[in-house]
Symmetry: C2
Subunit: 383 residues, 2 copies
């Protein structure tokens, strides 16, 4: 039976058809006036998505490349960061610090727990830090930390100039993120999440305070990720090394869609779909994993007796739907569904309905329609 | 008037239609059995192109990322490399050494001059080195160094275990390159040259000798480009960080074309087209730049009175053909035309003919057809 392919993993996420078609166009060279004009437009659209007046640098690489670039350029070996580790990606950034000789205290939170301003205030009262590094929306736990209050806590602390370094990989372009207004210093994201593009590009922006730190960092051991080279090139509307230019051109198509919907429109759609999905899960008697659920991705506990392998296997095989499982210690315990990017109300309904069908098939006692009805009630807000 | 777009720059190069269409397919997730199977096939095809039994690691990034990965993972700070600097890219790898505390002597050759085994033997007789770093085919000067004889010279020297680190960005998959047979230790390439893909992926392979050096390099300051993480992941058929998976899937299409043509077939086609192009240039009275021309790209002196701006501007505007100018000190003095990758005999003829038309238009005394006839005589070998 015909079943369309639906990608509901929290990255890569599905990409608009118009963007995909752009990728099928013949390759052009990137050292041209046309490319520079297009790159400047993309720059301005990225600033809009980041809500910043600062330059957003485009790196050809994974999100990890941009995170390394953000952390290692702005913090010198021997400086000290508070790493809030409440998930797999947060733990990775602590490892980056270790690898580059950046001292760090890890504030370990249980998976699913969000970081708050109070927690950071307490840590900053007990010790001096040059930076706090956190993940705004932890993809691995579907948990959103209170970034705005964390920025305030840092500014009100005895280290008010400490850098707030934020992995916004599953927040920027999905949920409210206001780099300049909140005072975020280093903001990182990737192409394959809310920006509606395949993987391959990553982005990082620096506040004037963070850029001063970059310039002061004299013994930087980076070449490909030396951000001063990117700054020099962008002054000419360029990148220092051959960029993934077809992905950049396609990014232009996706960013135009975001601008047309407006960033506030994107945030509202995403949060409504996320709320509908959560109500759908609760409506069929399931339990959410996160103590402060993110709107970009949801994590749901498996009910007893349902195995990850059977559940996701059936979704894939019978429904042609790909959702994510748990990572690390949560493997087999939760499943995760994306709400970011190219996702509309009916994608949400299909997700909820397919989960109902699959759980029923696997013997879980669910009344078909209970989740969908709860979700639909929320989705009504959109129309 | 309808004029098809033709991209004749030495990277990005033009990409087969079938590969472009692959890029327009819906995005899938990369942590699946299907992806692993496909990635394993690509691995084996890359080994075929590299002519090696070693793993070829796929990095999401520019060629510069793979070059940094190759150099910095296999050479520790304080070790000493002989950098053969005979072009813009060779000079960049010397800068990478500086940035990471790798000592280096730069053997500066005039642009357009190739490195030979004798030169390296002389340097290795005068001092001890841990490695020689060279560009096999310098894109900026269209010059090919004698890699095979350089490998022999190193092995016959008093530092026979020194690493031969090779930027094969415009050689691997275009001209004969035999990693294992010649004893190359670190071999680097990028996606947007002979591999017939847009920019965004880069590749690096290590000989057992080089991999021993990677494992012995205990104080590595890399995270995204730490190759030990790639080795660990590839054991599971995976990459350590989200790869540009749509580019990888499209790479499969291009590599299949190379396998079908055979690598020897690709080398023969490329070298015949390059020879035809060179004869075409000589046939209309032009002079080649390089003292040892590469077959992947040709560089040609402008005749007196012809400006780069007018020449390449006319080609672009009237003929919809994009060729490259000179870089650095050669800006305005030469133009460069690609022969790598998705280039056939009639692309070569169009290149020669369009150069004839353009030079004539700009007042250069050329007999229309003189270049094309000379080129065609060589191309006859192909049929």
């Amino acid at each position: 039976m015909l079943m369309k392919y639906r990608l509901y993993t929290p990255g890569p996420t599905s990409v608009p058809e118009a963007t995909l078609l752009e990728l099928a166009k013949p390759v052009h060279h990137h050292r041209t006036g046309e490319f520079r004009t297009m790159f400047a437009e993309i720059q301005s659209a990225l600033q809009y998505v980041y809500q910043t007046k600062q330059t957003v640098y485009t790196i050809t690489g994974s999100g990890t490349a941009a995170a390394e670039a953000g952390i290692v350029n702005s913090l010198a070996p021997g400086q000290k960061a508070l790493c809030i580790t409440n998930g797999k990606f947060a733990e990775r950034w602590a490892k980056v610090c270790s690898q580059f000789g950046i001292e760090h205290k890890d504030l370990k939170l249980e998976y699913g727990v969000a970081a708050t301003g109070e927690m950071v205030a307490k840590e900053f009262a007990a010790a001096k830090y040059d930076a706090v590094i956190l993940v705004h929306s932890e993809t691995s736990t579907a948990t959103v930390s209170d970034l705005e209050s964390i920025c305030k806590a840092v500014r009100a602390s005895s280290s008010p100039e400490a850098l707030v370094i934020v992995d916004g990989i599953t927040s920027i372009g999905a949920i409210p993120f206001k780099m300049d207004e909140w005072g975020v210093d280093v903001a990182i994201t990737g192409s394959q999440k809310a920006l509606m593009l395949p993987p391959g590009l990553a982005f990082v922006a620096f506040s004037p305070r963070a850029w001063k730190a970059v310039e002061a960092n004299k013994n930087l051991r980076e070449f490909y990720l030396d951000m001063k080279a990117y700054a020099k090139s962008i002054a000419d509307g360029d990148t220092p090394y051959t960029p993934a230019n077809t992905l950049i051109e396609a990014l232009g198509v996706s960013l135009k869609m975001i601008k047309e919907e407006t960033i506030e429109g994107v945030w509202k759609r995403t949060s409504t779909i996320a709320e509908a999905f959560r109500q759908g899960m609760l409506g069929m008697g399931l339990k959410l994993f996160s103590q402060r659920p993110a709107d970009s991705v949801s994590a749901v506990y498996y009910p007893e007796g349902i195995s990850d392998k059977d559940f996701r296997g059936t979704l894939k095989k019978t429904h042609n739907i790909h959702i994510a499982g748990g990572q690390g210690t949560m493997e087999g315990k939760i499943f995760r569904v994306n709400h970011m990017g190219y996702t509309d109300a009916y994608d949400c309904l299909a997700a909820v309905a397919s989960i109902e069908f699959t759980l029923k098939k696997l013997g879980y006692n669910v009344q078909i329609g209970s989740g969908v009805a709860a979700a639909q009630k929320v989705l009504a807000k959109l129309f």
